[in-house]
């Protein structure tokens, strides 16, 4: 019998194993994915994101039908989805995340500088002497000392007056709330922006070549301030069987996953 993963699929497993003659009739097991319904390039309800593609690949690999629990990926996301047991897999989490059990990382991206190609800035370092004279867009997370690494990196270099903050929450009433900071560069609202790679890469593609990206270097501003992050899948803490199954999937299908990431313009960086 095909190995069924996930403790919540016990019922199906029992049904399927009860009698081989029943195997055909047993419902196809579900791959239950927790995802944000409005968060391109990652996922949306119309299933247009690269995480939707990866989820489909995973479901096909598991011969499972794909089911989603939709919830805004904000504070409480894991609590209301994965931890609440309504779904079993988050397609993208930081490998270091401590709120879930993370699989092997399957890509590594970086914050990138986004600018108009016609400006010819070719800027890649926070120590570039031109930076203090530029109007810089940066993503903001919230209070309690949590913010994006570039926001911290700019502040510690005394760059505050020339910084324009864009919340990562954006306007959730619009499609693609994350796109605003990238579109701001295209419009010329800011000279340059520092944006998480997948977001920058995906929305820059819509600019018909007007925007250019360069990874922030070096990859770490201080021991506590990395710009590059490894991304894994996440399961509930303690769900070791599913995590092992996902690790196996990621090892076997990495070529296909890379192709999906390429298709969506997701920039990756190598581990140093």
């Amino acid at each position: 019998m095909r190995r069924v993963f996930g403790s919540l699929l016990v019922v199906e497993a029992v049904l399927a194993s009860a009698s081989t003659s029943c195997l055909k009739l047993a419902p196809k097991p579900a791959l239950r994915v927790c995802a944000d319904p409005n968060n391109l390039p990652f996922s949306n309800r119309a299933q247009e994101g690269f995480e939707n593609r990866i989820a489909e690949l995973l479901a096909a690999d598991r011969h499972a039908r794909l089911e989603y629990t939709w919830w805004a990926q904000r504070r409480g996301f894991v609590r209301n989805t994965l931890a609440a047991g309504t779904c079993d897999v988050v397609i993208g989490v930081p490998a270091e995340s401590d709120s879930v059990a993370a699989t092997l990382p399957y890509y590594r991206s970086s914050y990138v500088f986004v600018s108009r190609r016609d400006r010819g800035l070719n800027l890649a370092s926070f120590d570039d002497p031109r930076l203090p004279k530029l109007r810089i867009g940066v993503q903001m997370i919230g209070d309690d000392f949590a913010n994006t690494p570039p926001a911290h990196a700019l502040a510690r270099r005394g760059m505050t007056a020339n910084v324009v903050g864009y919340t990562v929450y954006g306007d959730y009433g619009q499609p693609s709330p994350l796109s605003d900071i990238v579109l701001a560069v295209d419009r010329g609202d800011v000279d340059i922006a520092v944006v998480w790679g997948p977001v920058a890469g995906f929305f820059a593609r819509r600019s018909e070549g007007r925007l250019t990206l360069s990874a922030v270097s070096p990859q770490r501003d201080s021991p506590s301030l990395p710009f590059a992050f490894e991304i894994s899948m996440g399961v509930r803490r303690g769900d070791a069987a599913l995590r092992t199954a996902l690790d196996d999937f990621l090892r076997r299908r990495h070529v296909k996953i890379d192709a999906i990431l390429d298709r969506y313009g997701i920039p990756r960086v190598e581990r140093l």
Binding site: P41, F42, Q73, G92, A155, R156
Partner: protein, 618 residues
């Protein structure tokens, strides 16, 4: 008083006569109490300016415009409170934190639940106080996913035959108090931008004053006045930006020079930081009819970290005095310039006239998040005193010459640096939970925390697909090992008269009566009565869930004194229980996980209204 006596006399007699016989009949008899709608049937209107003085009723969460939460009723005393018993209860069927104050207008009680913000009216004139009507505003479920903290609502307000309240998804709604039918609905906040509404409105001179929540999401704070009749916006005063947006004009006369100048709401921020600068208005509003000034506080600056927003970040983390008719600012005082600690300045201002240094002063008292008890001249905004009402090491008080908070450099959080033992912690010495003030004792009864925090490096986290790093903030008990207290503060002497220590933070409000009894609730679920002069425990009752609500006191249609409170743990402090968080994770619930890991074994969630009276014990 006029409005009350006629229906109440009738109601009282009817109830007294009917009770013995009705109690033997079938319940169906009670379902349509005769004349229950009549008392509020549009013909009887009530101006809160008058109603607030009636100790039989409780028409706004703070009891009165001065926000004293003092009841002049004295049937329940320190001698007989030990005989208090439950008169009736009501289950809300909800599990989020219950912070609201019930209201009593005539013989009707009104109650707002946490999200989805259902409003109930109960007929106090009938045995068991049956539901008279209920209104479900049906906020979209998505509001839950984008709200910052717990899904609380801090209560409704009554004026002129209408009940006013806010919904989490950003609407202010006026209901016909007699029928529960909506009179108007005004959409003010956009939940899609992280903007929510959790505060209780205050109605002043025909205007409904409401403010927004959501500073963490880059929301720009505002206070808005709506016409009580139509729901139309009359004015809006922002907490950041140019003077014209803040409604600062020629009559703005702040006491301290650092608050004077043009467009400080722009120039005290780097670049355009003010555009998403926070300073939301989710706390309490007071009003002095004689001076014709409304007083309220602005929340912390956000979403920027301190090092990203050099400057005072006006007009966040401070307090405004404004004209209710126009919204124009008269004075402002900043409790936490360039706030470092998430110390919102939204706590209530309690208005009183006290004799200080031989002079009668019109003052306002504020138990602030930053641990200081401010006594402020409410005519001018001058700080008369600011004394710590618990253990504080993150500031050294206020320089009374400049009015400025004196910071302590080595307690300032810095990215990537571990800072330990910052006291008070982010929720402050006193968070949202309101104080009460007795003119009989001259004491302010402060429910509060005794918590400190460590700020440490954090593992990568994720919001909307975007990884980030920051700090993990872990709260812990302050000196003495207890986590909460009720402190009776003598504002004239500048010191406590007594302190009752509690195991958990006291996240409920307090109320004090002319019987010299102070009521409050604990997070374990004890509802307690203590002697207002000594703090001696006189009575306690164990409710079904932890208490974070606001107790109220009223006179029932039977002419007797009642005390009501919502039980139902939650809020920021109780999220461990309401959200079923993992107590092994010290950073869960934004830092409360470590401090209150044992709360889950002390109480469970679930909203229930309790109404107490002396009953047969009179």
């Amino acid at each position: 008083m006029k409005m009350r006596t006629s229906p109440w006399l009738g109601g009282t007699l009817a109830a007294a006569l009917a009770l013995p016989t009705l109690s033997c009949q079938k319940q169906a008899v009670y379902t349509s109490p005769p004349g229950s709608a009549r008392v509020l049937n549009g013909t009887i209107t009530g101006d809160p300016a008058t109603l607030q003085r009636d100790d039989g009723q409780w028409v706004m969460p703070a009891k009165n415009y001065a926000s004293t939460r003092f009841s002049g009723l004295d049937e329940i005393t320190i001698q007989n409170v030990g005989r208090l018993g439950v008169s009736w209860t009501f289950s809300t069927g909800m599990v989020a934190g219950h912070e609201a104050a019930p209201l009593v207008v005539d013989s009707t009680m009104f109650l707002a639940t946490p999200f989805p913000n259902i409003v109930y009216a109960f007929n106090l004139g009938s045995p068991g106080a049956p539901i008279k009507w209920q209104y479900d505003p049906k906020p979209p479920g998505a509001a839950k996913g984008v709200a910052c903290c717990d899904l609380v609502n801090r209560g409704v307000a009554y004026a002129d035959g209408k009940i006013f309240f806010n919904t989490l998804d950003g609407r202010t709604i006026a209901l016909d108090a007699a029928t529960g039918q909506p009179k108007w609905i005004t959409k003010l906040a956009d939940i899609n931008k992280g903007e929510t509404m959790t505060m209780a409105p205050l109605v002043v001179k025909g205007k409904v004053l409401v403010g927004n929540s959501g500073g963490e999401f880059g929301v720009r704070g505002w206070l808005t006045a709506l016409d009580a009749t139509s729901g139309a916006v009359v004015w809006r005063a922002y907490s950041t930006g140019p003077d014209k947006d803040v409604l600062i004009g020629p009559n703005f006369k702040p006491f301290y020079p650092s608050d004077r100048g043009t467009d400080l709401g722009i120039t005290t921020w780097p670049g355009e930081g003010w555009r998403i600068g926070g300073g939301t208005v989710w706390g309490w509003i007071s009003y002095d009819p004689e001076l014709d000034l409304v007083y309220y506080g602005t929340a912390n600056p956000g979403p920027w970290n301190p090092e990203q927003r050099p400057g005072d970040n006006k007009w966040t983390a401070g307090m405004f005095a404004r004209r209710p008719d126009t919204g124009e600012a008269i004075w402002y005082y900043q409790t936490s310039p360039h706030d470092l600690f998430d110390h919102d300045g939204v706590n209530e201002l309690v208005l009183a006239d006290l004799t200080m240094a031989g002079q009668i002063r019109k003052i306002a008292m504020r138990a602030d998040r930053n641990g200081l008890l401010y006594v402020i001249d409410r005519t001018s905004g001058e700080v008369l005193s600011a004394a710590p009402f618990g253990f504080v090491n993150s500031n050294r008080g206020v320089d009374l010459k400049t009015g400025r908070l004196i910071p302590v450099a080595d307690k300032a959080p810095t990215q990537g640096v571990v800072v330990r033992d910052i006291c008070p912690a982010a929720p402050g010495m006193n968070d949202w939970q309101p104080t009460s003030f007795s003119p009989r004792t001259g004491l302010l009864y402060i429910p509060h925390q005794n918590l400190c925090e460590d700020i440490e490096a954090m593992a990568a986290s994720y919001i909307a697909g975007t990884p980030y790093v920051g700090a993990s903030v872990v709260y812990k008990a302050g000196p003495g090992g207890y986590r909460g207290a009720v402190t009776a503060w003598d504002a004239v002497a500048g010191k406590p008269a007594w302190v009752v220590k509690e195991n958990f933070p006291v996240w409920s409000g307090t109320v004090v009566t002319a019987g010299d009894v102070v009521f409050y609730g604990t997070m374990e679920g004890w509802f307690k009565a203590v002697n207002a002069r000594t703090g001696e425990l006189l009575w306690r009752f164990k409710c079904g869930s932890g208490i974070i609500g606001q107790p109220i006191v009223y006179k029932g249609p039977d002419g007797h004194e009642y005390v009501a409170v919502l039980s139902g743990v939650g809020g920021w402090a109780g999220a461990l229980v309401t959200n079923d968080l993992d107590p092994r994770d010290a950073t869960a619930g934004n830092g409360f996980g470590g401090a209150l890991a044992d709360l889950k074994s002390a109480t469970t969630r679930g909203g229930m209204l309790y109404v107490f009276s002396l009953g047969d014990g009179r």
